[in-house]
């Protein structure tokens, strides 16, 4: 394990091919940029209008989702095409518990985590023993199942979904304005970064990397292949579930159409675009994901087409993503 540790990526310089990336190789320059960006993120609500805040809140939200999926796809190398299902599980847990049963918002988060874990184990348990292709298609089917269930049950509000979900309050302070939610999602995104970073450099993270690169060798070294993959799958599910809780609280209304297959694909695109397995890459991917449609509003319905072409070109010419993890 020690040898693996020293070869672990992320601690050190970036494989810069030139230009700004090379400039970023110096630790000092990186620190300057990071401090500047962090300051900008902190004080953004003071200097910008509601539109920018809305978009940026969305960015932080997708950062969290993409980091969650990154654990499954990037760290463990499993293709999950139904990630929106976990996001739906979290959102509906909060929606149902607060509007039907009057449960406090904060108490719905542990419930959502619990349900996400259950869903992850139910789907991951049987399929993770098989080829990764099977997992891809089963997660796709699972995503559809969750959406169809949400559309057909009475408790989930059917096709029109749930409305009037209460906004949460903390110690008497009601989180209602967009600037409040901006900080909530910024905090969540930072938390997701921190947890991802710690996981990547943990014993579990090294095991994921090992299984991803060579499954048979990993098993020969005593790594429990199925258990390790299941951890990745379940942790990814928890990220999605928690993000879903806050999504429901922010939107105050959820409908099954939010959790369509396209949603899962968008999140996956964010992970693939920036570089699978690398936290800054995934964050850049999430930014691109949210900002691209805002900038190119005129494209309308063909923007997914453009996304898909970008995805294909990236896979063909830069399969590791825009800013990939450094292989040693």
């Amino acid at each position: 394990m020690d040898r693996l540790d020293s070869a672990a990526p992320g601690n050190g310089d970036v494989a810069g091919t030139g230009g700004p990336l090379r400039w970023l190789e110096s630790q000092k320059n990186r620190l300057i940029v990071l401090t500047f960006l962090a300051g900008l993120a902190m004080f953004l609500p003071l200097i910008s209008n509601n539109y920018v805040l809305e978009v940026m809140t969305n960015v932080w939200f997708y950062v969290m989702l993409c980091l969650g999926l990154n654990i499954v796809v990037g760290y463990a190398g499993l293709l999950d095409l139904g990630y929106a299902a976990f996001f739906a599980v979290g959102a509906y847990t909060t929606g149902i518990l607060t509007s039907h049963f009057g449960v406090n918002f904060w108490l719905t988060i542990p419930a959502a985590v619990l349900f996400s874990i259950c869903a992850g184990v139910i789907i991951g348990g049987p399929t993770l023993r098989l080829r990764s292709d099977y997992l891809a298609i089963v997660t796709l089917g699972f995503g559809e199942i969750v959406r169809i269930i949400a559309r057909n049950l009475e408790i989930t509000g059917g096709a029109s979904g749930l409305i009037g979900i209460e906004k949460p309050s903390l110690f008497g302070f009601e989180i209602s304005q967009i600037s409040h939610f901006y900080y909530v999602f910024l905090l969540l995104a930072c938390l997701a970064c921190f947890v991802s970073y710690r996981l990547q450099h943990s014993r579990l993270g090294r095991a994921w990397q090992y299984v991803r690169e060579d499954e048979d060798a990993a098993e020969a070294m005593g790594i429990d292949r199925v258990a390790i993959k299941l951890y990745a799958y379940v942790i990814g599910a928890i990220f999605g579930g928690v993000a879903g809780c806050f999504f429901a609280a922010k939107m105050t209304a959820i409908s099954p159409e939010t959790f369509m297959f396209q949603q899962s694909v968008l999140i996956l695109l964010g992970v693939v675009l920036g570089g699978m397995g690398k936290i800054p890459g995934v964050i850049i991917g999430a930014f691109a994901l949210v900002l691209f449609p805002e900038v190119f509003r005129d494209l309308g319905s063909s923007r997914i087409l453009v996304f898909a072409i970008v995805m294909l070109v990236i896979m063909l010419y830069r399969p590791e993503g825009i800013w990939p993890e450094k292989k040693t």
Partner: protein
């Protein structure tokens, strides 16, 4: 209607649905068998087949009408066109990725699928197009159950295509080469088989079968939509897994079985039509738990 009539009616529905599933599942299974790729774009090629058939039919119908002759002609033309599109996709997107990590090629296939479906979305603005045909409603009556000639011809055509494929794979040199490549690609190359050419041929046949199913489904249900390939792609994969992925008779059997299960499933209390998809994905998940190799698949489980 008596219970017997209902069952007979559902048998007919199930056979038609099952024929569509089987035709699409064949392409999945052939491509998977030969290059171990799960072609996510396969369902979308079914959809492209339906749209191309629609296009050809609307051009041809002033000349030869939109009855049987017209539909058959447009079906053949669109099968050839979609088959070539399949080969093109294989050459551009899959060929360079064959040696890449498995995750990359899966994402590539997903990207191709999205390009196809969203490309059609951009062209049609997401509207349902009416696939108008002039097939008539004559048919035969069995007791209280009425089965149109159209339904019989559909099942017959599907059976014909599948038998032709079976003969092709088992009686010709090309078929033998396909089966050999599925076992050992490198040995085939040493034996002087043009591996890439045979892979292209496999894509051609697989995608044109999907296209044939697309046109038949379009003509039968009367409307086509850019998203019609998504669910059938999933179902066909389920069918291929039921039969044992990589096995050609397995895909046919699995398709018919899934079609019948779905039609009869809608008759079970509490499983209405809205739960139909949940029912078949549930079958898929249960099957993967208890018998991942399917009915006719090989017993070894590859670990990747």
């Amino acid at each position: 209607m008596t219970l017997q009539d209902i069952l007979l009616q559902q048998l007919a529905n199930g056979l038609i649905l099952g024929s569509f599933y089987a035709l699409v599942a064949l392409g999945y299974t052939m491509v998977y068998g030969i290059i171990k790729l799960l072609n996510f774009a396969h369902g979308d090629l079914y959809m492209i087949g339906a749209f191309l058939g629609f296009l050809v039919l609307s051009v041809l119908s002033p000349l030869i009408g939109d009855s049987w002759v017209g539909i058959m002609c447009s079906m053949v033309l669109s099968m050839i066109a979609v088959g070539l599109l399949g080969v093109l996709i294989q050459r551009i997107a899959y060929q360079p990725m064959l040696s890449a990590p498995r995750l990359s090629i899966l994402i590539t296939a997903l990207a191709v699928s999205m390009i196809l479906s969203n490309g059609v979305l951009a062209f049609t603005d997401g509207e349902y197009l009416a696939f108008s045909t002039d097939l008539g409603y004559e048919g035969l009556e069995f007791g209280n159950v009425f089965i149109t000639y159209t339904q019989m011809v559909l099942v017959g055509a599907a059976a014909l295509l599948m038998s032709a494929l079976y003969l092709f794979v088992h009686r010709t040199m090309y078929g033998k080469a396909m089966r050999a490549i599925a076992i050992d690609k490198d040995a085939c190359r040493l034996m002087g088989i043009h591996v890439n050419r045979i892979i292209a041929l496999t894509f051609f046949i697989g995608t044109s079968l999907a296209a044939s199913a697309g046109i038949m489904a379009g003509a039968y249900y009367g409307s086509i939509h850019f998203f019609m390939g998504f669910v059938i792609g999933l179902k066909a994969f389920t069918a291929a897994v039921i039969g044992g992925i990589g096995s050609i008779p397995g895909a046919m059997l699995g398709g018919l079985l899934l079609g019948l299960l779905e039609s009869f499933g809608t008759q079970i209390p509490f499983i209405g039509t809205e739960w139909k998809d949940v029912f078949s994905f549930g079958i898929l998940i249960l099957l993967l738990v208890f018998k991942p190799t399917g009915i006719l698949g090989r017993t070894e489980i590859e670990r990747m």
